[in-house]
Symmetry: C2
Subunit: 307 residues, 2 copies
């Protein structure tokens, strides 16, 4: 199963010539999930050759413009392209009013059903779940209601050794039981232990998104051990007072969260426009957590692989 | 005086990976005028190194999303940057409500005075005027109220021959009269005709913007003889029925308007996403009007110079 995240925007509220506002796409096999939708997201999706129509779920962390302003264009484009599939939006309930106001204002004819999932401030809740993946929201600490999201694979089946199927003439229904951990009684009545028939399953992979947020240790339980953490890193240490005041994080604080949560890899984003060169932010983070990278717009990061 | 237009976006309603939604900046010396503000305009301005703070006037041709969606981000950025100068917006009156709704929704603190100039459907009117330049709106023909804009230099003063100033010992106050066409009575009482003292003034330059619009000959009187016309060219001839139905123009129709209006140069834009290659649109236009080019995003076109 392909499991990746493609970064579309890494600027904070004021975009510049190098960085777009917040947005990224998580891909799990053929499912595409959009997280946040800053201005220009639909253009960034096109540039990165991500088919707009494959996105059926949009998660909005909070209602600041730099995470939302791209939504109106995207929703309108879907209708112009004749989208028929349902579209799920997960966001603060107020966003529904703004979308309705826009649709009314621009007299938009909506070609698809928009299913709005209202996120309640402070809630921790599973938002999406299928056989393979779950997506959970959890609260962050910002100036308005803000949520992080963790994408986690379900526990996987054990891998059956192919030659054992032949050796014990195992039926299709038995295969599934064995993959789930059962032992086998062979046709000769002999007990064959599961560990003789199978190898360990592939490890479960996970990705977490924390933006925007102040340093907030409450997230640690939610993001513990994830393979990849995207955490905002708006400021350098020298601007920590500004981080405190605006409820954003420094790069070093993001790295502290990564360290305590024992994540495998950390991606930094949501950089203040005040820094022309963000290498110092990376350096400050690496003091606390070595496996850190600056999120690159347009790059697809495989979840479960080291940098 | 520098007089130019920089193209920021040339897509029609659905943007693609190559083209941004409608926007362009007219520069007249140190004054910058923004025309339309599709999604991503503030990012395009940054990419093209146009200082956001130099823009004091924004003209919105009509209230379709692809000409408006970038406005909310830009207005919000101005406040985040602490803009104090007045900002003038010229648009259909309804836009004022949408801006107010946004400001209220996002709890935006506005750091500057926004002066809203409501454009009345069907009106032809001077919107801006100073000693050197005038900007006039005129109606286009589209599915909702839409206006074109023509930027025109004022008539210029004649150029006085420097050696004549010395020869006739002309005073400062006389110089201005002579530049405005007066003859001179010399200190010896002799009549010196203006044409002996001066050379013809620099020609008056002008630029017109027509998007979005069906083929609409009513504009010809307004754009007659302009140096540069930007005209929408959404479709090829084979899609003329679609152009008719959606109240857009074909490239050839744009060229016909240019030909009849005896403009010097024509820039085509607002291309339908259906065409991967737009060279055929250029070819169809050139049949009617040779001095035609495809508008290039990021290119600054000097008004008054030939292609």
């Amino acid at each position: 199963m392909d499991f990746s995240v493609t970064i579309l925007g890494t600027s904070s509220a004021v975009p510049n010539s190098q960085r777009n506002p917040s947005s990224q796409v998580v891909r799990y096999n053929s499912n595409y999930f959009l997280i946040d939708c800053g201005e220009g997201t639909q253009i960034q999706l096109r540039r990165n050759k991500i088919n707009l129509s494959k996105i059926n779920h949009i998660f909005i962390s909070h209602l600041h413009g730099d995470h939302v302003y791209g939504l109106f264009g995207l929703l309108s484009t879907y209708s112009m392209l004749g989208r028929e599939k349902d579209l799920n939006i997960y966001a603060d309930a107020k966003l529904k009013d703004l979308i309705a106001y826009h649709n009314d204002f621009f007299n938009n004819k909506i070609s698809y059903k928009l299913i709005f999932h209202a996120l309640k401030e402070g809630d921790t809740e599973i938002l999406f779940e299928d056989k393979l993946l779950s997506i959970k929201m959890f609260p962050l600490k910002h100036s308005i209601a803000t949520h992080g999201f963790v994408f986690k694979e379900k526990e996987k089946q054990r891998n059956i050794k192919k030659y054992k199927i032949e050796e014990f003439n195992i039926s299709v229904s038995q295969i599934n039981e064995i993959k789930n951990g059962s032992d086998l009684i062979s046709q000769e009545g002999k007990l064959v232990l599961n560990k003789e028939l199978t190898t360990d399953p592939e490890p479960v992979r996970s990705f977490a998104y924390c933006s925007d947020t102040a340093y907030f240790p409450n997230v640690i339980d939610e993001i513990k051990n994830v393979d990849l953490l995207y955490h905002e890193a708006t400021f350098m240490n020298k601007d920590i007072k500004r981080a405190y005041k605006t409820l954003h994080s420094t790069a070093e604080q993001a790295a502290s969260i990564a360290e305590i949560s024992e994540v495998k890899n950390l991606l930094l984003g949501h950089f203040s426009t005040r820094y022309n060169n963000i290498d110092p932010l990376l350096a400050e983070a690496k003091v606390k957590f070595e496996n850190t990278e600056i999120a690159q717009e347009g790059k697809e990061y495989q979840i479960g692989l080291d940098f």
